[in-house]
């Protein structure tokens, strides 16, 4: 699918020329299927570059092109673009945050998914807002799981604690969401959040008590949410290997 040559020593200007052609193909696409194909190629090429030359930063105009595609109202292309952005990891965050457009609901929803998938703390405020207020359950669901998978290991211990506390508070609020799938994502996210913590930390205790509510037949109507919460409790409370 990709025309990118797998060589870690490819000269910078060759890479740039390659991406310029791929971006051009996206801009020139005049049908939904052409756009989908061009987006897939661009996203795949970025992923390949990331894998083959991890030190090479992805070209900003290629990232910006993927971010623009999120606003094109083409779900297939948006899925491919989100995958490409997630593959680029933290390098894509600044471009994603810089391209947020509050007036384009669809684009913002896809950006939230990309930020959730990347798990960079710079996206925390956007995830908090989406989890609390977004009208789309699928966006709240993505924001919830993103809260559980934020990467904090590189942060100073104090900052790390603040981020986890904010994630926990947001997830506790969302455990009362009216949509089962959001509560399901909250249960999965609380498990992931606790896995990173030492047992018996205060945050972990609070997460366990929210999981107990989600696992309780008196307080949670939807069986699959209770099943997920129980699985989380079993995994967290059983002695770790």
């Amino acid at each position: 699918m990709t025309c990118f040559e797998r060589s870690p020593l490819l000269p910078r200007d060759t890479i740039q020329a390659r991406f310029a052609a791929l971006i051009d193909a996206v801009e020139r696409a005049d049908s939904a299927s052409q756009l989908l194909q061009a987006t897939r190629t661009l996203a795949q090429t970025l992923s390949d570059l990331r894998q083959d030359s991890p030190a090479e930063p992805p070209p900003v105009d290629a990232l910006a092109c993927l971010v623009r595609i999120l606003g094109f109202n083409n779900p297939g292309a948006a899925v491919a673009a989100v995958e490409g952005l997630i593959a680029c990891g933290p390098d894509a965050v600044a471009v994603l945050l810089g391209g947020l457009d509050d007036r384009n609901y669809g684009a913002k929803a896809w950006a939230v998914r990309a930020l959730a998938g990347i798990g960079d703390v710079r996206g925390l405020a956007i995830l908090e807002q989406a989890l609390a207020d977004d009208v789309g359950p699928s966006v709240r669901r993505a924001a919830a799981i993103g809260m559980g998978t934020l990467r904090v290991s590189h942060l100073a211990p104090e900052h790390r604690q603040t981020v986890r506390q904010r994630s926990l508070s947001a997830l506790q609020g969302a455990s009362k969401d009216s949509e089962w799938v959001v509560r399901y994502a909250v249960a999965a996210a609380l498990e992931k959040l606790c896995m990173e913590l030492q047992a018996r930390e205060r945050i972990c205790d609070e997460a366990l008590s929210t999981l107990n509510i989600l696992a309780d037949i008196e307080r949670e109507d939807v069986p699959v949410v209770r099943l997920r919460a129980r699985l989380a409790l079993n995994r967290l409370l059983s002695p770790r290997a």
Partner: protein, 282 residues
């Protein structure tokens, strides 16, 4: 899956009552259903009581009276009464009270095809075994009768999808029922084929009836793939896990289907495997 119509297009409500579509209380819903000046308010109230599965003592009598509001079909008249009756029938299924059965069975023979559809779905939800025979009778004429297209209309002669699904939900697997359903596996419309396969799979648990549903997950039309996802979920057919994850459709719908596998299905793959597959789709 039946989605309630939006309230758009209905006249504005009179001032003492809040606007249709706003969040309301059970008391307010019952009040709206009780009045008979504004049908759009009744329409919304009937839907609301069903969605909330209201257990108030007035709910069933008021829904039954709304169901009786229907009128003989005349061009330009009675349409709103019939819309209220359809939502009332649907709500009676959700509220889940056996008192509604005789009137729902009568509605199964109504002239209004939309009301027959709502009544069939409600009887399916209630699991009414007395409905099996009338449902089969509606379908007995097969592809050339019940399943034939109406002239100048996208509708079929009978609401086949709802009738087939109801037979599957009720769960009476005798040979008369199976023989009635089987011909619809060859219907020209994929959604009807999906409903027939779903019912047969629910009734018999025979893997052979899963094949048509799995094949429809590869159908070129998204709408058809979505229907097959919902049908596999409704049956809880756990062996469909991998094809469900692979099909090209929104993760939201795959999650609903996998929820069905967990809640309605048994056996392998295990619950933990299914939950992990759901996590990957979040």
């Amino acid at each position: 899956m039946l989605v309630p119509l939006t309230m758009t297009g209905f006249p504005e409500s009179p001032t003492p009552l809040t606007a249709a579509g706003d969040p309301i209380s059970e008391e307010e819903a019952l009040r709206r259903l009780r009045q008979d000046q504004d049908h759009s308010l009744q329409y919304y109230a009937a839907w609301w009581l069903g969605k909330m599965r209201s257990q108030h003592p007035d709910t069933i009598p008021l829904l039954l009276s709304a169901l009786r509001q229907r009128q003989p079909r005349e061009k330009g008249a009675g349409v709103e009464h019939n819309a209220v009756a359809r939502n009332a029938a649907q709500a009676l299924g959700k509220v889940g009270d056996g008192r509604a059965v005789p009137e729902l069975l009568a509605a199964l023979a109504d002239e209004d095809e939309g009301l027959r559809e709502a009544a069939a779905r409600a009887l399916g939800e209630l699991g009414t075994t007395d409905a099996v025979r009338p449902l089969c009778e509606r379908l007995a004429s097969g592809l050339a009768g019940a399943g034939a297209c109406r002239p100048n209309s996208p509708k079929l002669q009978e609401p086949c999808e709802a009738l087939l699904e109801a037979l599957g939900e009720i769960g009476e697997a005798d040979s008369m029922v199976l023989d009635t359903i089987v011909p619809f596996l060859d219907h020209e419309r994929p959604l009807i084929r999906s409903a027939a396969a779903r019912a047969l799979l629910q009734l018999t648990g025979e893997p052979t009836w899963a094949e048509p549903l799995l094949a429809l997950l590869d159908h070129p039309q998204l709408q058809v793939r979505r229907a097959a996802l919902m049908d596999l979920g409704a049956v809880g057919w756990r062996p469909a896990l991998d094809p469900i994850c692979r099909t090209q459709a929104e993760n939201s719908l795959k999650l609903i289907a996998l929820r069905g596998l967990l809640e309605h299905g048994i056996g392998e793959p295990s619950a933990e495997t299914l939950l992990e597959a759901m996590d990957d789709l979040l």
